[in-house]
Amino acid sequence: MLDIQIHSTPLDTQTCIDFTSHPNAGGNTVFVGTVREFTKGKKVLRLEFESYEPMAIKEMTKIAKLAEEKWSTLAISIHHRVGVLSIGELAVVIAVSTPHRKASFEACEFMIDTLKETVPIWKKEIFEDGEVWVAAHP
């Protein structure tokens, strides 16, 4: 069971956890990515996330299906936020349930690692004296 969504409004962790609750689940791991206040010592005022939405959904679904196959997950929920975010707001929530716990950690970490490499979503950090697209340059 997969639940892959992109939202322009605040994410709700509990919604993702609830989706993955399952009578055979022995482990349920959730990763929550939040917006940090400082990058290399510079104060971030806010962030903007932009997505190429149809492809982002496809790529997130691909990641979830890979995890489902490799770790026999029971349910996966991935919600990603777009738009303008303040410090402390949730950028991404990934919840996964598996019969045994080790698999849920591995699957969850695989999904966030891969999401950050392949899903067409871009983050811009806005500072007092300028702005920068994160990780665009070497």
Partner: protein, 80 residues
Amino acid sequence: MTIKLVAYGIAKDILGKHQMEIQLEAVNNLGDLKEWLCQQYPDFQKLRSLSLAVNEAYQDDDFALNTEDEVVIIPPVSGG
């Protein structure tokens, strides 16, 4: 042929717009198009990576282009 370019993130800043149509000769595949982009907009060469997508999926350099294709420029992603 006519290619529709769509750009996101820093690629939009480099291109100066989100969408544009270009007329190209001697461009057969995505590898050719990437080369053309890097010549016309040298800032693309400074990026950590540059990928192109057609049909909402990453495609390799040897992906053959047809007129009216929509090509999406994918600069280094930074979601999560």
